[in-house]
Structures are given as C-alpha cells and as structure tokens.
C-alpha cells in the first residue's frame, strides 16, 4: 500500500517537476527556440508577432513587452566577446566591423536584467551611428570601457556581467529570412582592470 502511494508520488513529482522545470529552462536559456545566432549576437526575428513559435510566444507572454515591427528595425543582443567570455562592466572592449545596411543604428549597454547601465557623468552608455567619428574609409570602431578614450567612447560603469544591444533601424534585414546571411560587428576584449 505504502509502496503504491510512494510510486504515485514519484510519478507526480516527475511529471509536474519535470514538465514545469523543462518549460522554465527552455524559456530562460538565452539562445532559445526561435532565436538566430550571428557570431556572438542573438536575435529573435519573429518575437512578439503572430508568426512566432509556441516557445517564443510563451517567453513573450512572460515578459509582456512590445516588440519592434519589421518596418521599424531589429535588435541584436550579446553577452559574450569574440573569445566566448562573458562581457563585464569593468573590462574594455572594441566593437569593430560593418553593420548591415540601414538608415541608422544604436548600440547601448545594459545589466544582466536588461536595464540600461547608469550614466557616466553626463554621458549615457549608448551611441548612435550618426554621431560616430570615422577615421579613414572603413567602418567606425567603438571603444567600450570605464575610462575615457579618444574616438567613439561608449562609457560603462560598475561591475558584473553586462549585455550589449545593437539595434538596426529601417533595414532590409528585418524582413523574412533576411537575417540569416548577414555579418555583424565583433566585440573584442582589450583588457580588464583587475
């Protein structure tokens, strides 16, 4: 008798615990179902649209946001540098490489929870493509770090893991399947203040 009760308990525990746990895991994983990975950048092209898969829908329902439409733009997020190490607020990084064709783009730094990092002095931890300084013909590079540097400086402060969000506005790549064959800038670590 007791054995049967115990077995029923095991069955229920596995069913409810496993079911809820696996959904939680699928939704919390940063590279979940419906995501497209380009280098270290991750994007969810169908996120928040009626075409999204059930996992993206569930994730969207929990976050309760309003996603950018196709005609508006597309956002890419990364929390790792090119070597695969987590981005940290006390390190220096360089963002190099071309951004896909667009009217303009913005890049900003957030904490792990997705909130914008505090401003450094009067400067926000964000840059947009129209204010960048370009040297030579190549694409502009952006220096990310706590200390001021000449050129395009994106100031970050504090400690702990951070994320970078690159949003490209009015771009053909936000359309169907346009996101697969594109190249995005690389985030290269330059050093850390240990």
């Amino acid at each position: 008798m007791l054995k049967t009760v115990l077995l029923i308990f095991v069955t229920l525990a596995v069913a409810i615990g496993g079911g809820a746990g696996s959904v939680w895991y699928a939704l919390e994983a940063s590279r979940g179902v419906g995501s497209v990975t380009i280098g270290q950048w991750v994007t969810f092209p169908d996120f928040g649209t009626p075409q999204a898969d059930p996992y993206s829908r569930a994730r969207f329902a929990r976050e309760g946001g309003l996603s950018l439409g196709q005609a508006e733009g597309i956002a890419f997020t990364t929390n790792r540098d090119t070597a695969g190490a987590l981005l940290r607020a006390d390190c220096r990084y360089q963002l190099t490489g071309a951004v896909p064709p667009s009217r303009f783009w913005t890049v900003y730094a957030t904490n792990a929870a997705g909130r914008l990092l505090p401003p450094v002095g009067r400067l926000q931890p964000a840059l947009q493509s129209r204010e960048l300084v370009r040297l030579g013909d190549g694409p502009a590079t952006v220096e990310i770090g706590p200390q001021p540097v000449p050129g395009n400086w994106l100031p970050i402060s504090g400690s702990g893991p951070i994320r970078l969000v690159l949003t490209v506005f009015d771009t053909p790549i936000s359309g169907d399947a346009g996101v697969i064959d594109i190249r995005l800038p690389q985030v290269v670590r330059r050093g850390c203040d240990d």
Binding site: K3, A20, G48, A71, R115, Q128, F169
Partner: protein
C-alpha cells in the same frame, strides 16, 4: 523495480503533457501583458508616454536612450482609429499591436506622404464603407486594414542627441489618437 520503472516512465510521459500544457497556457494566463499595463496608466485613446522613468510600464519601454515612444489603446468597434501628428522629427515609426500585444503591422516615416503623420486603422468592413466615399479628413491618410477590434498603436521617435529631446517630446505630446 519494474513497478518503479513503470512509475518513472508514466511520470516522464506526464512531464511531456505538463510541459505542453504550461507552454500553451502561459500566453492565456499572462496577467501583466502590454494591454493590462497600459490600462493602468490611462483610458483608451489616451496617449501614454512610454517613459523610461515609469517603472509600472515594465518591459514596454525600450532601454534605448535614443528613443522616445507613445502608446494608445483603441477599439475599432467605436470606429476607425485616426492618429495625427504635426511637425518634423528625424525618424519615426509606428507599430500596430493586437489585444495580446503581438505586432501585426508596422511602418516608418518613409512610407508616409510628406512629413506629416496621418494614419488610419480600419477593419476590413470599415474599409469597404470608406472606399465608397472617403471622408474629407482622411484624403491624405495612410490606411491600414487590420482584422481586429481592440489593439494598441505605438509610435517611436528617434532622438539623435539631447538638443532634439525637447522637439521630439513636444511632437509626441502633440499626437492625437481619436476614434472616427
């Protein structure tokens, strides 16, 4: 031992069912969706600033400091939605969301005729009536046919630098969201 394995196997099958059930029920039972958050801040047709400083809006505001946005809830059973804005700003875009907050249509200022913002959302049935005779105030408007009743319209505006903040702010505060 076989009974234990049997219990474990039944549990795993159950886990699969629970997994699918939770996955499909999450969107149904989401309490803090965009609609609910906006309902806390204002009545339908009230233009709400998606202010970075307002924590009750949660994920509705993008953390991007270069963007300001407004939102307005509407109900097409009251009539067509008319969104009008006066002035010039560097970039704006509009998205129409359904009752669940899913993005069903978007456009940006390149789509607009001239610089003025004059945007109408109608149901297919209302579109048929409009085609017979376009009301005088809609002759310059961009029409969007959407098969929905309740929805949210969001307008986002680019703030290239701090000197634009005031201009963009005035523009967004001057947007009218009305039902015709």
């Amino acid at each position: 031992m076989t009974r234990f394995l049997h219990a474990l196997l039944t549990g795993l099958v159950g886990a699969g069912i629970v997994h699918i059930a939770i996955l499909f029920l999450l969107p149904v039972f989401a309490e803090k969706d965009a609609w609910a958050r906006l309902a806390e801040t204002g009545e339908p047709y009230h233009v709400v600033r998606l202010d970075h400083a307002n924590p009750s809006l949660g994920m509705l505001t993008s953390p991007d400091p270069f963007f300001e946005a407004v939102a307005c809830r509407f109900d097409l059973s009251d009539g067509a939605l008319h969104l009008v804005g006066e002035g010039r700003i560097p970039f704006w875009s509009i998205s129409v969301y359904d009752r669940r907050g899913l993005n069903i249509y978007s456009l940006n200022d390149r789509t607009a005729t001239g610089d003025a913002l004059d945007f109408v959302v109608v149901t297919p049935a209302q579109m048929l009536t409009m085609r017979k005779e376009v009301p005088a105030e809609f002759t310059q408007s961009i029409f969007v046919e959407a098969d929905l009743t309740e929805g949210i319209v969001v307008m986002r505006a680019f703030v290239p630098d701090e000197s634009w903040r005031e201009v963009v702010s005035t523009y967004l505060n001057g947007i009218s969201c009305t039902s015709r």
